[in-house]
């Protein structure tokens, strides 16, 4: 039985009809056609579906749509104009931090959180923070370097 769920997505108020068992990733992808949030494992390990919920990264596959009622959600499509995300995108391209692009949206949301929360993070800390986002293509070196590059830029 579908019921309406109201939440804010990328700054816009939205009401979506969804089955209670739908997860947030499904609501975003099927309900709002925001397909930048990718589904990898649907059990909270791979991190591909990481989005920002009320200012913090969250697994969109572990959150029932109903639990997102009233939440403010930001997906990879919602960061245009964000200075940190702009710097990360530039750094990801420069450091070849993506290949197939499938894990990339989740990586970017996690990376942005690292930049804002841990301005002094070193490489070991960045790797630890990334442990919840799996990438099968890059071997992580480019991703780690991209984040370190933006951290260094912001430290001046």
């Amino acid at each position: 039985m579908k019921r309406p769920i109201s939440l804010t997505v990328n700054g816009r108020a939205e009401t979506v009809l969804a089955e209670p068992r739908t997860h947030l990733a499904g609501l975003l992808r099927e309900g709002l056609r925001l397909t930048g949030t990718h589904i990898g494992c649907e059990h909270g390990v791979c991190g591909a579906c990481t989005v920002e919920v009320d200012g913090a990264p969250a697994r969109a596959c572990l959150l029932h749509a109903g639990a997102a009622e009233g939440a403010s959600v930001r997906t990879v499509e919602g960061f245009d104009g964000d200075a940190v995300m702009t710097a990360l995108r530039e750094a990801f391209s420069a450091e070849h931090a993506l290949q197939c692009g499938y894990c990339t949206p989740g990586m970017l949301v996690t990376a942005r959180d690292i930049i804002l929360r841990l301005p002094d993070a070193d490489e070991a800390r960045v790797r630890e923070e990334l442990a919840g986002n799996l990438c099968r293509c890059t071997g992580y070196r480019g991703i780690v370097r991209a984040i370190l590059r933006v951290l260094a830029q912001r430290r001046g």
Partner: protein
């Protein structure tokens, strides 16, 4: 983990040759940033799961919960008879028969939905349709299959034991194929200074791209054509396979591969699920979609790498190999998958076991065992990671017996550069390279004396090496002998100018992360001078591109790179002719330079203007102009086509915690030679990513099965993939020995990184454990296996 920032890294250009970096910084040899990045970084990639069409039905499969059983029947849920389809409901799908012409190969018939028997856990039994996946899963859960459970073959070594049940009952035994090379080695015991025999096992793995498989099938009533959007590395081969299985002509099938979220071989296979979706779309005249979930991928499709070896090797006092005797078994699973067949892996072991070494005498026996597991698929490197693991750990065992260093025993056995091109005793034809120099550099880059000093103080730390080479882009002359459904031949590319002067390239193979939109634009720029920003690559659609066997076998840059270069060369000739006419010059007086046709040393006319003239101002063309126009399709094949050989040496420093069995990689160095690199940044990415996957093979990834054939890792919390904390800051050093056989001297290198890690890491672990008298033989070297090895040595 050591993450020293003072070390040199590839992006700082250690020994990076620049002989082919083009003057513009955009052609062959340039680390050009990728054209495809922008869409991925903004979440605008378009993968099969992102595509929804009106009226679409979703499929969930009822899958076998048991490994081996007679399927007595399936009761469909009441009221849902027309939404649940069994094999008998879809007789229009012919079984998948992936044959090999190798003598003795037994052919399996894989029906798209189980017929009569199920032969592995996860085998599809029924397709259940609903307007959402969740409702389709509800339907699948309400189906009632009835089984007569049979004993399962879970361990490949028991496949031909007396009294075991036959998986395919008309076969004489549970074996797809046996291959052998006989040679009497009985005299070697008397003359060898060292002899070792080792028994080794590698685990069954899941390739685990983060995006699973997925397919959306639609019937186009106007064109009377099946349009299949599928996550595929080889859309044209999928098209051929679908047409054959459904009895359509190939013009009635169009396969579109959109952005593909990682492949590694997993998406180079025709799936039963694809055939079911196609048949349903035709039957129901509705779009039908199936998206594989992680449970399906891990359990129904854990399908690669499971090998068992008994290796005996003899060496003289200096460590020179006198001979090897190899008995190899590969768990090929229950069926032969299309197009690579069930024997590609095992039968290849014989020809690739000698690796980069001079092996004077060799006996082998290989067995492709049929078991109650999903069919084997070729994963990055195919059989090489297992073979390299077997050879490299055997070499170290010989070195320990002889009191030689790991470097010394490799140095005396590697094919020397003076011998290139070199043909080894099983006919592998190496094109070029300095294998010993790669070894020397790798050893120099890791601090071996420091490791030895730490060992002297009692630290459980070790250093390990692995040398190997990788045949890539091997073509007709190699594959026709396999007699598989697919033989790669001439790769074709189309190059044309559009009326606004944009250069459009069309190739039939497909990118699943390799960045072909960028690298093929670089090749075009190298030939025509067109800015890569003004080059568009069209790929991933059989209706728009020339036929290709696809992206596998480290072939894309050699084959499509060569084809695009040739098509652009011919297109350039056409443009020169038109340009000469417009400049009122003789054909011999003009040249291509900087995206223009110009009189030598004089004024030029832009290629854009030439394109505009051809398409929109033909009144300005002379009457005798070449009527082929600005549109060329050209074919390419290297000569000879036996394949390029990239090569590498991996060197690892590993620390072992003897209390917990945990292994930490303190340093990881890769010295690699891929010939001329079209885009060094992208090649680095391929090597790094492959190496990370190899680290997973060495230390983490394992799909265990119980005696009943039940897979025991159903989530990514059980099936462990390496994360950012498990993969060290790998250091790369490139050499550049051009292949004499390819267009720019490039070599196939996409799979290389995955080949070396298991050998190098296990050698490092065993070097660390040597003072304890312990040795780990089986992959992955989990803490439990390391502790068991230490415990066994204590007893």
């Amino acid at each position: 983990m050591t993450t020293a920032s003072d070390r040199p890294s590839a992006s700082e250009g250690v020994n990076r040759p620049h002989s082919h970096a083009s003057k513009t910084g955009k052609g062959v040899g340039a680390s050009l940033r990728r054209k495809e990045d922008a869409r991925f970084l903004h979440g605008r990639g378009r993968y099969v799961g992102d595509i929804a069409v009106p009226g679409m039905l979703e499929v969930a499969f009822l899958r076998s919960p048991v490994a081996h059983a007679r399927l007595l029947g399936v009761t469909k849920p009441a009221g849902a008879q027309d939404r649940v389809f069994l094999a008998a409901d879809l007789p229009e799908i012919a079984p998948i028969r992936a044959v090999s012409a190798l003598p003795g190969f037994r052919v399996s018939e894989q029906t798209a939905l189980a017929t009569g028997k199920v032969r592995h856990v996860g085998e599809a039994i029924a397709a259940c349709l609903a307007s959402s996946r969740a409702e389709a899963e509800d339907l699948a859960a309400a189906c009632e299959p009835e089984f007569e459970v049979l004993p399962a073959i879970s361990d490949m070594l028991t496949a031909r034991a007396p009294g075991v049940p036959l998986i395919h009952e008309h076969w004489a035994e549970n074996v797809f194929l046996e291959t052998r090379r006989e040679e009497d080695l009985s005299d070697l015991d008397a003359v060898a200074a060292a002899k070792v025999t080792r028994v080794l096992r590698t685990s069954r793995q899941s390739m685990a791209p983060i995006e699973g498989r997925g397919v959306l099938a639609e019937w186009d009533t106007r064109l009377e054509q099946l349009v299949v959007t599928t996550a595929s590395q080889q859309p044209h081969v999928s098209k051929t396979g679908i047409a054959e299985a459904l009895g359509l002509d190939e013009g009635q099938v169009r396969v579109i591969a959109p952005d593909v979220g990682g492949g590694f071989g997993y998406k180079a296979i025709l799936l039963p699920e694809e055939l079911v979706c196609c048949a349903l779309a035709m039957r129901l005249q509705r779009p039908v979609r199936w998206l594989e979930d992680r449970l399906e991928q891990l359990t129904a499709n854990a399908n690669c790498r499971e090998h068992h070896y008994i290796v005996t090797a003899w060496a003289d006092r200096e460590g020179r190999l006198l001979g090897c005797d190899v008995d190899a078994t590969v768990d090929s699973g229950a069926y032969s998958s299309y197009p690579f067949s069930a024997c590609l892996e095992a039968a290849q072991i014989g020809s690739i076991f000698p690796g980069p070494y001079i092996l004077p005498r060799f006996r082998y026996h290989t067995l492709s065992a049929c078991t109650n597991k999903p069919p084997i698929l070729p994963y990055r490197g195919v059989a090489r990671p297992g073979v390299c693991y077997a050879m490299e750990t055997t070499l170290d065992a010989l070195a320990r017996q002889l009191g030689l260093s790991a470097e010394a025993i490799r140095a005396v056995n590697l094919v020397p550069k003076e011998a290139m091109p070199y043909r080894n005793l099983v006919g592998k034809h190496f094109d070029s390279g300095d294998y010993k120099e790669a070894l020397r550099r790798a050893v120099a880059l890791v601090d071996v004396p420091k490791v030895r000093a730490r060992q002297a103080k009692g630290e459980c730390v070790g250093v390990g090496l692995a040398s190997f080479c990788e045949q890539g882009a091997h073509g007709t002359s190699v594959y026709h002998g396999w007699g598989m459904p697919m033989v790669p031949g001439f790769e074709q590319a189309q190059a044309r100018f559009t009326p606004d002067g944009v250069l459009e390239l069309r190739v039939g193979l497909h990118s699943h992360g390799q960045g072909l939109e960028t690298t093929l634009a670089q090749v075009a720029h190298e030939i025509l001078g067109v800015d890569p920003a003004r080059v568009r690559l069209v790929h991933g659609d059989t209706a728009l591109t020339p036929y290709s066997t696809g992206t596998w076998g480290s072939r894309a840059m050699v084959m499509a790179g060569g084809a695009v270069a040739e098509a652009c060369r011919q297109l350039g000739e056409r443009a020169l002719t038109i340009g000469a006419a417009l400049l009122q010059a003789e054909r011999g007086e003009v040249e291509l330079a900087g995206g223009t046709v110009r009189r030598r040393g004089g004024a030029g006319i832009a290629l854009e203007e030439i394109a505009r003239t051809w398409y929109r101002r033909p009144q300005n063309l002379p009457a005798d102009v070449d009527r082929g126009g600005l549109d060329v399709t050209a074919g390419y094949r290297p000569d000879p086509d036996t394949g390029t050989h990239s090569y590498a040496c991996h060197a690892v420093v590993a620390r072992v915690d003897v209390e917990t069995g945990a292994v930490t990689l303190e340093d990881y160095v890769v010295v690699e030679d891929g010939g001329v690199l079209v885009n060094p940044m992208i090649v680095d990415g391929q090597v790094l990513g492959g190496t990370a996957q190899g680290i997973g093979t060495a230390l983490y990834e394992e799909m265990p099965y119980d005696a009943q054939g039940q897979p025991l890792a159903g989530t990514l919390a059980d099936y462990l993939l390496p994360g950012a904390t498990e993969v060290p800051d790998i250091r790369l050093d490139h050499m550049e020995t051009p292949s004499p056989w390819t267009r720019f001297g490039q070599k196939g290198i996409g799979e290389s990184g995955a080949i070396g890690p298991a050998g190098a890491i296990l050698n490092a672990i065993n070097d660390a454990l040597a003072p304890l008298g312990a040795e780990v033989f089986d992959l992955p070297a989990t803490p439990a296996r390391v502790l068991a090895a230490i415990e066994a040595a204590r007893r």
